[in-house]
Symmetry: C2
Subunit: 384 residues, 2 copies
Amino acid sequence: MREVAVLGIGQTPIAEHWDKSLRMLAGEAVFAALKDAGRERTDGLFVGNMLSGLLSRQENLGALVADWAGLRGTEAVKVEAACASGAAALRAGLMAVSSGAMDSALVVGVEKMTETVGPQTTAALATAADADWEAAQGLSFVALNALIMRRYLHEYGWQHTDFAPFSINAHANAVHNPYARLHDSITTHDYNRARMVADPINLLDASPIGDGAAAMLLVPTEILKRNGRPMITIAGSASATASIAVHDRRDPLWLAAAYASAKKAYAQAGVSPADIDVFELHDAFSIMAALSLEACGFAERGQGPRLGLEGQIGPSGRVPIATRGGLKARGHPVGATGVYQAVEVVQQLRGEAGATQVPGAKIGMAQNIGGSGATILAHIFRAG
Amino acid sequence: MREVAVLGIGQTPIAEHWDKSLRMLAGEAVFAALKDAGRERTDGLFVGNMLSGLLSRQENLGALVADWAGLRGTEAVKVEAACASGAAALRAGLMAVSSGAMDSALVVGVEKMTETVGPQTTAALATAADADWEAAQGLSFVALNALIMRRYLHEYGWQHTDFAPFSINAHANAVHNPYARLHDSITTHDYNRARMVADPINLLDASPIGDGAAAMLLVPTEILKRNGRPMITIAGSASATASIAVHDRRDPLWLAAAYASAKKAYAQAGVSPADIDVFELHDAFSIMAALSLEACGFAERGQGPRLGLEGQIGPSGRVPIATRGGLKARGHPVGATGVYQAVEVVQQLRGEAGATQVPGAKIGMAQNIGGSGATILAHIFRAG
């Protein structure tokens, strides 16, 4: 199994891109990553996307993006794992290069969620849940997470306001990220008074959707060794699932798939949570940030909010999370999110994160969640 | 890169399964493949599917199927490449095992196309084409193929009836396949008089949709060497794309991606077309059978129909195709088709193809096409 490294990264701003279609967004990120890598071609293209069929009436996305991005002929495929589609595409590209089947893999996560032809976005997002046993009951995706958060507050005695630091940190970091969806910092007062979406989740607990694409070119590490570029290797990659329906889980407050995938990735990289300098977690809702910190070993069970309250989650804290804004403020173009997270970890390890640079970051982890904890992937990157 | 072999195969009959949902179909094929392999678990699950989002309002299919099939926790993902989704999932599973990232990969192709909640199936299938430049003009998928077939008849001087042998052979073979959608043999008279769908494509040029699932368990070859089971290795695997829109191709009668992927797979396996004992091609429409035979080196350009007219495509012919019924009569549950084809090649190489057994078959190829030639994969299997 060959070691794999990141040769180039690229991304588009996340916004309501009314003037850009799915393929145009993907192409923009592909061009940026190839330019960053100093390459013009790739052996394979892996497109992470969740909703193109429903929202843009477009499948066969691999061929579509390859064609548009000037890579016609290149092997290409779409990978889907709901909101974890981006990381799933990254893992597919990684395995393709590590297997020796190809010497370069371009991974692009893309989602077009505004000005689309399909059904309501809320209905489309519910396809991440169990269609027969959850969505069929009228449960939207935010409603599912609201049930989880309500149970968490009940079980561990936290107040809603205790989750404010997650949101405040994400917004504060996004101010400095030109690609972020939101650029306004917020206060605890704002958080407490935000409009309710699905009790207890309010607007500042929930990540905004958007249109965007992020890309990453992977190559065998020995190539980077030869050309002397900044060396960022993928030291760990793992994926796991849990029951797709939340009600089928023994404990709905435990992300079993986050635990399993992170544990495996730690073992591959030979690290423990204490070694992770930056952690781009999947804060689609603030409750997910807490559960993720617990399942990945950064906090005791039921103690996730404490890290925020103690001021440990900022770029200079003990566990820096959402350093470029996270899903909460960078934005959550669902199938693209996992690649944005990976790109942001690479920015940190290259020392290119500007005002939210984590000092001396050498090891970073990205964690991407599909469904309410159903499919979870962890990737650990290391600066060489 | 480790050599990979097929340890188990399984499939469901293709039909209008009004009593079986997407997950039930997938589960049935998974159970069958695991049973055939004598296993109860897999390290990874790769689900090939095109239309679950649109037709069943269900994404996150990896987690869904893993959960239902008793594989909860297992790494799982969905792979999409329109009607080539099955082979794309197979290739993803293959790379996962050959990379060493996992020691077993269960590939399942599944599609649920009848009694669904989504839009008309015809509209859903059009997502395989270019949504902005083809489907937006009102072109259905069969209409696109009709344009190609009309051009072919014009360019090379064939009559519509010259394509009859493709359909007759497929139907004759499907009679003996208990998993096939159609079990009625047909005559040239039937073919010539079939109801028109999109001129010149009539009902007997077009493959029937259906609900179904097929699965295959992949393991490193050394494991098979140890346990003494029938040895079927994957000797070649390749994928290529062409422009997604037919009008963007230099020559709409040349499947460039079929040529490129087959050429690569031949090189990997060290074989030429003459060495292929059985060829499960993608006869979604009879014109595609002709174009595929030409692009893969079995016929000269413009001469695809000749093989049929000369009686060379039956199980005892020089180029046996659609030996279990092909898409035309076995049926075309789109995202599952590529895995059905692979399963059928393995049946042939194991000598388990009954009345349509190709005598002494040692090397077989499966070719799966997504869109009107946009994404094409070739897999070559070899009996050890």
